[in-house]
Structure formats: structure tokens, C-alpha cells
């Protein structure tokens, strides 16, 4: 074992593969936050009046709030006045790939997501967001044929204000928490999707997107609505270039599922985690929540989190409709000095609601991994059921794993099941693999992938493979 530890130090020098900066002209507001900045953002985005009012309201509320301190994470104070709140490549709104800045395309190339190929990739529509503004949207037409609306959020604000007015803030109100309030004031862009009644969205919807501009906070906003009997599967994948400064990222995602509707939301997150000494990296403070508003509706969150210096994220479900189901499948991997405090919130309100939680935390290096989960069964939630499984795996001696399950049951008919385990990756397992000719690195990634299997199998096929690769890359050098 001691031999292994030495290698951990020696080899924990995995470079961030995507650490490059694209040099394209962009329009960036100077750092700072005040009402004037918000007015400018709104004006630049050509927003209707109601949106500016909402932004200002959220901003004023945010000013009254304090940054939360309960998370099991440590980071220097964020200087909110030191951040620029708007950045956009100058050329935008292009119809075909030929018009896209070649350098931008090259950037995507390096990320392994050549848009040209994406077009052909069966059934994947890509809404590529570069910094704050969506640059190109493909597959819109195919989707339009079946009546699916899939567009950048800011476009929806202009085109479908009634839908925005109806659903925005209906799941995550701007008063929800510190970061949600900030996001509501200064949000930039991301996706809007509506799948109409009875429609099964014919393809996986996917957004790739990265943070590029120096010191640019990112405040994406996503809203997905599945009407009665509709089905949609959405995947977000993110990468960001190498930076020394810590970059703030505070997204809000709202999902609404009506009667018999299903939304699957999958995330692969591999933002810059900081270097091996813990310098740099993204701060990721995300609010994601789904509302199972209708009977027998179904929302499923799957996340593979391997990036960011700090992850603070609790995708949850409000199970309002009778018979609705909420699921949370999570893999969180922390290596070097990464910290993750993540988990889920399942609020059972309707009768016979079910929630299923499977969390896999992996810590290597000096990584610190916290699972924080809340399951609330309200009074009217007759026959509610929850199953929680929470497994941690430790690689090396300097990392840690913590579990904080909060359970609140107000209805005695509820059935709760909780399982938890912590394991160390075994020297005997690694030796067994080596004896069969498999290298230590491959062995670790094999064992970790096996450990995460229940979660990875929830991802759409091609993304499951991507996630496996990502886990292997993120683990490189964690064991000798």
C-alpha cells in the first residue's frame, strides 16, 4: 500500500485536456454589478419590459440575502463586483455552420464535438452555447415538425413571452436561494424546450457549452416543459478552458412535467477542476429542480460530475402529482483538491409518490466529497416511498467522504429505505486485475466504472461511453 501512496503523489499530475482559450472578438461588460448593469444586459438581449422588471426585483431581493455557509466546502470570498456579467461573441445568430467563426469551430474540435459531425450523429440536436449567447442551433426544423420548441432561452423570452411568464420561477422562484436570486437578476442564456401534449421528442436534446471569457461569470437559465403524455431526454455537457482565476458559475434549471409526462435530464460536467495544487478551477453553484406537476409524471436526474473546483448542487424533485416519480442518479468524482457538496431533495406531496436516489461518490487525491440529501414526506403524501442508496469510494489516504441524509416524514404510511456504504478501492482488486495483464490505471478506472454502473446505465448510450472515458481521464494518476 505504501508503495501505492508514493505513486499517488507522483502521478497526480493529470493535465486538464481542454485548457485553451479561444481568441475571438467579444463584447464584454466591464466588471461590476448594479441596476444599471442589469438594465444593460436586458437591453443587449432585447428583452421585453416584464423581464427587466423581474430581473430588477430579483436583484433587489438578492441584495438582502447572505451567501450560504452551511455547505461542506471551503473557498475564498467571491468578489461579486469583480465579475463581468455579460460577454458575447460579436457574430451571432448564424443559420449555417459555414458562417461560424472558424476559430470557434476549432475550439469545438478540440473538445471532441465537431458540429459538422454532430449534425450527422443520429438523433442528436446540438444547441451550442459559447459563453453567453447561443451561436448556432441545429435540428430545429426536425423538431419543429413535431411541434417541439427547442431554442436558446433568450430567444424564447422574445418569441414566447407567455410561456416564460407562465413557467419561469414556477419551480425555482427568484427568492429560492442566494445563487438562484443572483441568477434571476443577471442570467445570460441556455436552453428553452417545450414538448407538446402527446409528443415523444424524436431525438436526444443536447447542449454543449463552455466558459471562455476571462472573469466572466456564467448564469445560465434553462426551462424544460413536457406537456401531458410528452417525453423528452435532455443532456448537458460542459467543458471550460484553463484559467488561474476562479470562475463563478451559477445556473438555474427548471423542469415541469404535466400529467403522464417524462423528463430525463442528464449532465456530464467536466469543467476545469483547478491544478494539482488546488489553484484555479470553476466554482459551480447550481440550482436544479423539477416539478412533477401532473399525475404519474416522471422526472429523472442523472449527473456525472468530474469537474469544477467546487460543486454545490442538489437537483431535486417536487412530487406534486399523485403517483409521480422522482429519480436522482449521481456520480461525483473529486481528485486533487476538488470539493463537492452535492445530493438531492425529494419533496413528496402527492399520494403514492415514489423517489429513488442512487449516489456514488468517489474521492481521490485530497478530494472531498459530501452527499447531502433531503427526503421530505408531507402529510398528504399517503403511500409515499423512497429508496436511497449512497455509496462512497476512497482512493488513497488523503481524501474524504461524508454523508448527510436528512429525512422528514409527516405521513406514517411512508416507506423509507436507506442504504449506505463506504469502501476503499482494494489493493487486492487492483492486484487481481494486474495479474490478468491489466495496468493499474486501467484497473482503477475499471473498478470505478463498475462502482458507478447503476448510474452510468441511466445515461443515453453514447453519453455513457463518454462518461466512462471522462471518469478514466479524471482518475489518471490517482493510483500507481
Amino acid at each position: 500500500m505504501s508503495n501505492t501512496d508514493v505513486r499517488v503523489e507522483e502521478l497526480a499530475e493529470q493535465e486538464y485536456k481542454y485548457g485553451f482559450v479561444t481568441d475571438i472578438e467579444s463584447e464584454t461588460l466591464p466588471p461590476g454589478l448594479n441596476e444599471d448593469v442589469i438594465r444593460q444586459i436586458s437591453a443587449k438581449k432585447n428583452e421585453p419590459e416584464f423581464m427587466l422588471k423581474w430581473r430588477l426585483k430579483a436583484y433587489r431581493h438578492w441584495l438582502t440575502l447572505k451567501e450560504p455557509e452551511w455547505g461542506n466546502i471551503r473557498y475564498p470570498r467571491i468578489d461579486y463586483q469583480g465579475i463581468s456579467y455579460f460577454s458575447a461573441p460579436k457574430k451571432t445568430g448564424l443559420e449555417s455552420l459555414d458562417e461560424v467563426d472558424p476559430e470557434l469551430l476549432e475550439t469545438y474540435e478540440k473538445l471532441g464535438i465537431p458540429l459538422e459531425e454532430q449534425k450527422m450523429l443520429a438523433g442528436v440536436a446540438v444547441d451550442a452555447v459559447f459563453d453567453s449567447v447561443s451561436v448556432v442551433t441545429t435540428f430545429k426544423e426536425t423538431l419543429a415538425e413535431v411541434g417541439v420548441i427547442f431554442c436558446p432561452f433568450s430567444e424564447a423570452v422574445q418569441k414566447y413571452p407567455e410561456l416564460i411568464k407562465k413557467y419561469m420561477f414556477s419551480v425555482v422562484p427568484y427568492t429560492d436561494n442566494y445563487f438562484a436570486a443572483l441568477n434571476s437578476a443577471v442570467f445570460t442564456d441556455r436552453s428553452f424546450c417545450l414538448v407538446p401534449k402527446g409528443v415523444r421528442c424524436p431525438m436526444e436534446l443536447s447542449t454543449y457549452f463552455r466558459i471562455n471569457e476571462k472573469n466572466t461569470g456564467q448564469f445560465e437559465r434553462t426551462l424544460i416543459i413536457a406537456e401531458e403524455g410528452a417525453y423528452v431526454s435532455y443532456l448537458e455537457g460542459c467543458t471550460a478552458p484553463m484559467r488561474d482565476e476562479n470562475q463563478l458559475h451559477a445556473a438555474v434549471v427548471e423542469l415541469v412535467a404535466l400529467d403522464d409526462a417524462t423528463i430525463k435530464y442528464s449532465t456530464i460536467q467536466n469543467w476545469y477542476p483547478g491544478d494539482k495544487n488546488g489553484k484555479g478551477g470553476i466554482y459551480n453553484f447550481v440550482t436544479k429542480r423539477g416539478k412533477c406537476a401532473g399525475r404519474n409524471s416522471h422526472i429523472s436526474w442523472t449527473q456525472v460530475e468530474t469537474g469544477s473546483a467546487i460543486t454545490w448542487k442538489y437537483p431535486g424533485c417536487i412530487l406534486l402529482g399523485d403517483g409521480s416519480v422522482g429519480e436522482f442518479y449521481s456520480v461525483a468524482l473529486t481528485n486533487n483538491w476538488q470539493q463537492a457538496d452535492t445530493g438531492t431533495k425529494m419533496i413528496h406531496i402527492g399520494k403514492n409518490t415514489r423517489s429513488n436516489i442512487v449516489s456514488k461518490g468517489i474521492s481521490a487525491g485530497h478530494g472531498q466529497n459530501t452527499y447531502r440529501g433531503m427526503v421530505k414526506i408531507l402529510k398528504g403524501a399517503q403511500g409515499a416511498r423512497n429508496y436511497t442508496q449512497c455509496d462512497s469510494m476512497l482512493i488513497g489516504e488523503d481524501c474524504s467522504a461524508h454523508t448527510f441524509p436528512y429525512i422528514e416524514v409527516k405521513n406514517s404510511s411512508a416507506q423509507m429505505e436507506h442504504e449506505a456504504s463506504t469502501s476503499k478501492i482494494g489493493e487486492d482488486q487492483i492486484f487481481y486485475c494486474k495479474q490478468r495483464g491489466i495496468s493499474a490505471e486501467d484497473a482503477v478506472s475499471l473498478i470505478v466504472n463498475g462502482f458507478c454502473k447503476e448510474v452510468l446505465s441511466e445515461l443515453p448510450m453514447e453519453f455513457a461511453i463518454e462518461a466512462q472515458k471522462l471518469l478514466s481521464i479524471s482518475l489518471e494518476g490517482s493510483v500507481g
Binding site: 494486474k434 493499474a440 463498475g450 458507478c452
Partner: protein, 252 residues
């Protein structure tokens, strides 16, 4: 093929192997017997390269190269296979996936083309004709929830698949019922060839009825104290280890 010269190994501060000498030629089957705790598994693990055991003296030559400085995975690629006394479970990793990864690592090392999933399935089907195993075991996670006997059979199946040069079986026969024992023996016999050698660690004559060894060695307290032909195993069964222990002392 294999030459062990004056091998000494320790764990923590305790010397376990105290000067082992053994030559194994291609095509030979050697059986090692000996009381509990005498160092049989330790010898197997040292051959396979487990870092827990520190070699303090001696050499192990495989085809003339000293392999003691070589990583375990490379030794495996060079053709050393050890069937574990206690096979390890790897939850969530499908047996076939594991085997394909192992086979391809070894093939790659030896300059052979890696097998694609489809080719691999074909290859597995071929091997299943020689070593009977169930589809069910292949689909399940590596050794997870396998019965003791199933784990041992799985080791033998892996061995057949990886086609090693030197097969070290550490008590593969322990805990097997009569049918499974025959299955394992048939597998080993099917794999016997002029190029391949076996070291079979066992406590029982039983297996040796089916797999007839060319040599039997007795390991006591970290040393090979007696060697002979297959009759030695029968003699041991009859007289017990105290017989060799005493005779070795009188010889010393």
C-alpha cells in the same frame, strides 16, 4: 522456462520463504504440497509479483530473464497466470468485459491485434467448448456473489482464455464438489501441452488422480524439503507431513 534460485521473501519482519530452488521445464506439471502456513500461496504470489511480499534474496528467471523487477501486469503479459486461492470480487464489472480487457492487454503486449467485441464473443464460444462454464457466470460481475466452487471454475476459464505459458494454481481444488473437480481437472488436462507448464498447489491427492504430475514437492516452513514423482503424493497422504518434516530434519 522457469527457474527459481535461492528465493527468500518476507512480509513485514517475518521471513516466509527461506531459500526456494525449483526448475520447471515446458510441458511439465509440478505439484507443491505442504502444511498450512508453510508458504505455498506466498510462493505463488511472489511469482505473480505481489508487492506485499518483499524478496530479500534470490532470483526468478522466466525464459532466462529475471522477472523480479517486472510489474505484475507485465509478468502476466509474458505468460504467467495465477489462479487465486481466494478470487477477488469486482462489483459492477461484467466478467466478459473484464476478460476482454485482460486478453486485449496481453495481446497488445505481444504485438497481436486486439479483439473486437464480436470477435471476442466468438473466441469465448470456442473456449466454452473446452472448459464448460455457464453464460450466466460470464454475464455477471467478476466473481460477485459466485459460490466458492464457481469462483474456482471461473479462474480456470480465465486461464483457458488467456492461454498462459506458466499456470500457477493455488488450491484450485479446495472446496470443489466431485463434478466440479473433474471439470477443473479436464480443463487443465485439455490445456496441457509441450509448451505449457503447471505449478499446482494442493493439499489433496484427489486432484492428482486426474491431473497426473511429473513432480511432487513438499514445502515446509519456507523450504522445499522433499521432491519426488507422483508416488510422493500418495505417500504423503498416507503418512502425513510429520513424516517429511522428521525425515528432512534427519537429512539436515
Amino acid at each position: 522456462m522457469l527457474e527459481i534460485r535461492n528465493l527468500h521473501a518476507r512480509v513485514d519482519d517475518r521471513e516466509i520463504l527461506k531459500g526456494i530452488n525449483l526448475v520447471v521445464n515446458p510441458g511439465e506439471v509440478h505439484s507443491i504440497m505442504g502444511p498450512n502456513g508453510s508458504g505455498k500461496s506466498t510462493l505463488a504470489q511472489v511469482l505473480a509479483g505481489r508487492e506485499t511480499y518483499v524478496v530479500t534474496e534470490g532470483e526468478v528467471l522466466l525464459d532466462g530473464d529475471n522477472i523480479l523487477e517486472i510489474e505484475p501486469e507485465e509478468r502476466a503479459c509474458r505468460g504467467i497466470f495465477m489462479a487465486f486461492q481466494y478470487p477477488v470480487e469486482i462489483p459492477g464489472v461484467a466478467n466478459t468485459y473484464f476478460l476482454r480487457m485482460a486478453l486485449n492487454s496481453i495481446r497488445k503486449y505481444n504485438g497481436l491485434k486486439e479483439l473486437k467485441p464480436v470477435e471476442f464473443v466468438k473466441y469465448v464460444k470456442e473456449k466454452m467448448k473446452i472448459i464448460r462454464t455457464s453464460d450466466d457466470l460470464l454475464k455477471r460481475s467478476v466473481n460477485e456473489g459466485f459460490s466458492g466452487g464457481e469462483k474456482k471454475r471461473n479462474e480456470i476459464f480465465q486461464m483457458a482464455l488467456l492461454e498462459p505459458k506458466l499456470c500457477v494454481l493455488d488450491e484450485t481444488d479446495s472446496g470443489l464438489d466431485i463434478d466440479a473437480l473433474k471439470l477443473v481437472a479436464d480443463g487443465v488436462n485439455a490445456m496441457r501441452s509441450p509448451e505449457r507448464a503447471f505449478i499446482i498447489i494442493t493439499h489433496y491427492q484427489r486432484l492428482l488422480n486426474y491431473v497426473v504430475p511429473d513432480f511432487v514437492h513438499v514445502l515446509v516452513d519456507g523450504k522445499l524439503v522433499k521432491s519426488g514423482g507422483k508416488e510422493l503424493a500418495l505417500e504423503l497422504e498416507e503418512k502425513g507431513y510429520s513424516w517429511v518434516e522428521n525425515s528432512s530434519q534427519s537429512a539436515a
